[in-house]
Symmetry: C2
Subunit: 105 residues, 2 copies
């Protein structure tokens, strides 16, 4: 059943790619993200998205898209090009670890 085995392998790789170290991500975020996205992932710069509590896979995917140029943003392109795969996964784990509460007006 080669197809089943392949699917299993792909799943494992995908999971491994998202097993980030939140503590390491927190340190990196303080250096490269906090100035715009805030120390706790609530943005401080205008028109900048909050990252707190966003799904790990979503953050990692967007950072890779900025790095490759698939998603375009002048500042994020520069920042993402300086990040390794491990650093991206760590940042994703860190921002995802922040718990959000939403209050509807």
């Amino acid at each position: 059943m080669p197809l089943v085995l392949l699917a299993g392998a792909a799943l494992t790789m995908s999971s491994a790619a998202q097993a980030g170290d939140a503590a390491a991500g927190r340190q990196k975020a303080a250096q490269v993200c906090a100035v715009c996205h805030g120390a706790n992932g609530l943005a401080v710069a205008p028109e900048t998205p909050n990252l707190a509590g966003e799904p790990e896979g979503y953050i990692a995917r967007q950072l890779r898209a900025f790095r490759s140029g698939k998603r375009q943003h002048e500042v994020m392109a520069v920042i993402a090009k300086g990040l390794s795969d491990e650093e991206i996964d760590n940042l994703a784990a860190w921002f995802n670890s922040i718990k959000l509460t939403a209050t509807v007006p």
Copy 2:
């Protein structure tokens, strides 16, 4: 001072484009966003970003980027193509009106 006048006109247009109606946006969001992004903008589908509390200009810009194809996502392209400028501004006003609290682990 034509340059100053132009700048003033651009600023006015930009402000007007973001003066969304949050109540109308809330109704629209219940129809087209909530199934993935949650009734209160906290996502319920996996790997889907939370939208609660995101800046108005950010949400509006991303929706227009999905609509034009500048930002690519299979589902969001279809959804954004069905939105008018007014609906985009209303959705942006609604999600921005939700207040967020972040708790660091």
